[in-house]
Symmetry: C2
């Protein structure tokens, strides 16, 4: 039985009313809205949101957020929880609902009674010849408060090792091997290392394997200050790190609460015995400033360090071990590292706020940042929270006025205890893994909103590229020139795309902020948005006061973004991305953009590993075929969407296609691919060793197998990893193909 087309046409016009009407009073929405199921993104609303985001309000948010240190779970951190709840529950500009659930998580703090101490000691007499600073210099009146946590390496074990000092560069595996190759006795030494090169905890792990009994970590002025190191050249006189500044940080190897891997850290949850928990530094470790590092390093005896190991302390870099006899301390002096950190179970809060979707309340666009800082944390993370609050204010105001409600639900999150290892966000993903995997469209992270004021910088998975591009093309970049954020961005970070030509270059997502559990554990398309450096002007590892007591409001206002225009640009970009994801009829996730990534990974594998694999009888043929199937399926899907967009697709048709788009990223998840890599299940973005930018499982297995005999178990693992990625790509293609294809 066929319906005459004429009837169809007539009824179709009338049906629109029904649809709009029906959704005018959505069951789950707190207030009536005008959007209907066929409503696409309203460009006027989008424009209005972008215009209403105010730099001055971001500034005032930041001033309040960074007024006091707010280390995770401290009273000020909890006060900010209340501030967020109050904002999100505001009758004029709040959200539909807000809550602050807590988790009981294992944190690590220095002892107040027994401060950590690094000293130079005469080994025979025990006399203390020199003591490193125990806190940063009070340069602006903000470094001496009772809530400024002294510098420490969170999760480093307590202990008071003492031994001759060696200099070990970054503390990488290769660095310690170099020292050993040079005949330097490492057993029983204290290693002085500098930040950079490898992760914090890895310095201690690598060190301990060579018998090192304590580790110091400092920030070299070469790495953070473009070589400047004098008080006159550093904060408060410039953006540079003062000589006494010390980078704090988590030294835990994994993210998430250390005692509850894969379980939410609820009060009643099973917890590992801390003694059997893994991933803590094996030896006492303490960070120090370069002022103190200079005293230690510049008095070392022994061989001169390789050139690549030299920084800007202004002396010869010698390797040790031990001090030179003609220096400040004498050859028999040793370094004592006294660490008295304590592990404590603490209640850490997340704050969650929701704007319920009018049409598809069961589709979530998540937007989050952490709340906790090491000290005042003006940049990290309060710049992001200041943006978050301004964005939620503008959207909340539209919501409360009744002029707007998103198609999909928007969930804002302020995560706790990120600085200790993304703990609040990870526990959240563990508690709600099913629901989040079923329903989350994307996760937007804005942690440090502004590292510097030169250019946008976005990290993300390929499907978010298109929505970020669309958004940034319509937002004016701060500063003169009248460029869009996009056009400014492309000047700083670009690549030649085989599909689009020259485009801004998106970075990839590691585990540097709260997006990690969403992407790696749950397979949710994610992104991290910020404004950042002009790399022609600085080679600093990161903004210089990172994780120090000098990361203050004044610092931001004087040196990073005086008019807060970069903050505003980030708010506008993130806001536009958020609104497009929540309100567009078809999800603005371009799955085809994965094709380019896969093709790049494939070509890298072919060029760098292909011949060597062939020697082992391993063919990349199935991988080639899988990539081709993916490309084809993505292309056809995009054509189908384009065709539908020209007509008036039915809401269920839209929903079905959107499900394909939303769930694509999930198809790359395989919890059995790398069981030893806690939480890393995404077969495309898991950590990769080696220099070849390709499928991580394949690359890692290859590098382990490469020196083994043909037919060895590591070569079998290469084949297994190849099959795992082929299966993932074939599964992804199957998800993109027409849904009723066999």
């Amino acid at each position: 039985m066929k319906w005459p087309l004429l009837v169809l046409g007539g009824v179709a016009l009338l049906g629109l009313g029904l649809i709009l009407g029906h959704f005018g009073i959505p069951k789950e929405a707190a207030s009536p809205v005008v959007q209907g199921q066929d409503q696409d993104l309203d460009l006027k609303i989008l424009d209005s949101v972008i215009r209403q985001l105010e730099a001055s309000r971001i500034r005032e948010n930041l001033r309040e957020l960074a007024r006091e240190p707010h280390l995770a779970t401290t009273p000020r951190d909890e006060a900010l929880v209340q501030l967020l709840l109050q904002r999100w529950r505001d009758p004029e500009s709040g959200l539909d609902a807000a809550e602050a659930p807590t988790y009981e998580v294992l944190l690590s703090f220095p002892s107040q009674e027994q401060p950590n101490r690094v000293t130079v000691v005469n080994a025979s007499s025990g006399d203390v010849l020199f003591t490193c600073r125990q806190s940063e210099e009070n340069l602006t009146g903000e470094q001496a408060g009772p809530d400024v946590v002294p510098p420490y390496a969170a999760y480093a074990p307590p202990g008071t090792p003492q031994g001759p000092l060696v200099y070990a560069n970054h503390g990488s595996k290769e660095d310690f091997e170099e020292l050993q190759a040079r005949g330097i006795q490492l057993n029983g030494t204290i290693a002085l290392t500098r930040y950079g090169g490898v992760g914090r905890v890895n310095k201690a792990i690598n060190a301990a394997k060579h018998g090192v009994i304590g580790v110091l970590v400092y920030t070299d002025p070469a790495d953070i200050n473009d070589g400047q190191s004098l008080p006159s050249e550093t904060f408060p006189n410039s953006w540079g790190l003062p000589p006494s500044g010390v980078e704090r940080g988590s030294y835990h190897e994994y993210f998430g609460d250390p005692l509850t891997p894969y379980l939410p850290a609820t009060h009643s949850s099973f917890r590992l015995d801390p003694a059997s928990a893994t991933g803590f530094p094996p030896v006492p470790t303490q960070p120090i400033g370069f002022e103190d590092a200079k005293v230690l390093l510049c008095n070392l005896q022994g061989q001169i360090a390789p050139n690549a190991w030299k920084g800007a302390l202004g002396c010869e870099y010698r390797l040790g071990s031990g001090f030179r006899s003609d220096g400040e301390f004498g050859a028999s002096s040793q370094v004592n590292v006294s660490v008295h950190n304590r592990l404590e179970l603490r209640n850490s809060s997340n704050v969650l706020g929701i704007i319920r979707g009018a049409v598809e309340p069961d589709r979530y666009v998540l937007y989050g940042n952490h709340r906790d800082s090491w000290v005042h944390g003006a940049v990290d993370p309060s710049s992001g929270t200041a943006v978050l609050l301004e964005l939620s204010r503008v959207l909340g105001t539209l919501l409360k006025k009744g002029t707007w409600r998103p198609r999909r639900s928007i969930v804002f999150a302020s995560w706790g205890a990120e600085e200790f290892g993304l703990i609040g966000s990870t526990e959240f993903t563990e508690e709600f893994s099913s629901k989040l995997q079923e329903r989350t469209v994307a996760y937007i992270n804005v942690d440090i909103a502004v590292f510097a004021n030169a250019s946008l910088r976005v990290q993300g998975t390929p499907p978010v590229q298109s929505v970020v591009f669309s958004s940034t093309k319509q937002i004016p970049a701060p500063g003169p020139g009248g460029l869009s954020v996009y056009d400014n961005w492309i000047r700083y970070f670009n690549r030649s795309s085989s599909v689009y030509g020259l485009v801004p270059s998106l970075g990839t997502l590691g585990a540097g902020s709260d997006y990690a559990p969403f992407l790696h554990f749950l397979g949710i398309s994610s992104m991290d948005i910020a404004y950042t450096y002009d790399r022609s002007k600085t080679s600093a590892r990161i903004y210089p006061t990172y994780h120090t007591a000098f990361d203050t409001f004044d610092y931001v206002e004087k040196f990073l973004d005086p008019d807060f225009s970069s903050h505003r640009a980030v708010a506008q970009t993130a806001g536009s991305v958020l609104l497009r994801l929540s309100d567009s009829l078809f999800l603005p996730l371009n799955v085809s953009d994965y094709s380019e990534t896969l093709r790049t990974f494939l070509q890298a594998a072919q060029q760098n590993l292909g011949a060597l694999l062939e020697q082992q009888g391993i063919s990349l043929g199935p991988l080639v075929s899988a990539v081709e199937k993916f490309e084809k399926a993505a292309e056809v899907l995009n054509q189908d969407i384009a065709t539908l967009q020209k007509g008036s697709p039915h809401p269920l048709q839209v929903r079905m296609l959107n499900d394909q788009l939303m769930l694509l990223e999930r198809t790359f998840l395989n919890p059995r691919a790398f069981p030893e890599e806690r939480y890393y299940s995404h077969v495309l973005w898991a950590p990769r060793t080696g220099s070849v930018t390709t499928f991580p499982g394949l690359a890692n297995a290859f590098s382990r197998a490469n020196s083994t005999a043909p037919g060895s178990a590591p070569w079998a693992e290469v084949q297994r990893q190849l099959s795992i990625v082929v299966m993932a790509l074939e599964g992804a293609a199957a998800t993109l193909r027409p849904v009723a294809d066999l």
Copy 2:
């Protein structure tokens, strides 16, 4: 802005036309249909389908399917692939599309050149004193064909062990411990075991741990024939197993292709070296008939077996080891087990056919059965395939006539190589895991359709109970009395439900057929439907000719279901369930029925483990709270559905609720819960040791911990398992709660 209700009402009426019209010509459907997005299950269509299912056609299907042996991957198995394709591609009664993809899987076959042989040998002279049959007796002319595979234990390793015989009952752990306790030397012996008690492979695993070098397995007439054992009392004179009948079977410990765990066995897939694959019997193993078993067992010397070990062979059951000196063989005679099985990579086909959904083509109702048999396999599996073909014929005919198209897609499957360990279905779930998890509403399995003709028997997870009940209440039971299938069923299998009072009792799903990978690996609500015994009339382990050369068409027609009315009742039941799942507006999955199961599991844990756990400082409090949350959420969801059903819910509202219903089962999946149990990820239905019917992870961990010291690692694992199930239940409750709740 509010829409006046009057306008709403008026437009709503008009909108219906649009909706019907729009879906009158669905994009993906092969032919126009009349169903629309608001269309609920059409009871007239349902009734018509039920009526059109013909017993005589099922009979003719079975005659054809069981005409020849069709062991997996043999020419006749492939011929049946073609038969299925032809039926499903029939222009008058076929489906929208059908395909037959293949996997390359590891099977095990006996050698044709060197038949497996069990002999009694004079240990000194080597003279063969007795040889067991190498094939079953040709009683009906069908047991001697070239395609009848001789009895063997698939995956048992080759070898020719020889030693004194012992009788080991079921070959359980306890059985061998009993023999050991009685001072019977097991080292170097051949163990004769009987089917039942433990899984096939476990007999050999348990035996080898005690030094046993070869295993025989037979079917005792007490267990299969209600004690009858004479030729005159058995087939072809009754349904009983003839003395020469031998149960074949897979002796692999895991399901799925042995060489490709967690990977689809595509041609290019990574394969384990067979030597490093696990789960095969550790020693040569061979099944024999009770005719031969009697000769062996009744000549044993030694102690008399415990009463519970005695069967119906008509002699004393002695334990051995070795033969009695006054018997047929003499005390120095030994048993030689010569096994020459070979592992072979073979191409095995699945056949898949689809009816594309008119409204939600991306929602799949799967209906499957395996195709391969051990010999003719009239009962196992052809009775199910005969039903499958009749059901697909009736639906295909409605489809091709254009009178019906389901709301959701229906996928029919004929799995290959199930007899070797659910291989075809498992590889399918591996290849399409993402897509199937995202989209599958339920999996219906009808393997053996008719074990016997007394009553329906359904195994399934709780959400399918309601749709099975609704279906069976409307279908007349075969035989006199005018009862419905439901009313007949409740007479044979019932339980007292705390919610419903006396209801038929659904069984739970283990891993006995192809539902296993869908339920345990993918978390899809599943069921298995059959007609079965009157347990007051037989205590047979299973129908007597199971996996023998006597499972023929004649056997079915003479002894199981002469008028095929039980087959028809199964077709009607499964067809009704299928149609309700594919066509109902709201999915007929009652998530609330999980509440009763959870409560039962909880109470069992409290009563049996609670006090003992408390002694270890482990509280069930969080589990109580999680169950309560689940109950509450399920109840509220059901109320919401009931309210919506009274009105005219919008298609997207329906879809959102259905997603909650569909995905509930998925929330119980945790691939990290029992990593050592291959494929088992469902925290409620994983294998459970011990007698307490409760959460399997908790029960298993408890039984391992129970004899260890407080604070041991096994007790920590009990706590971890408790947290895993609490997390799953909390996650399930979160999935059922209103979707925009925080």
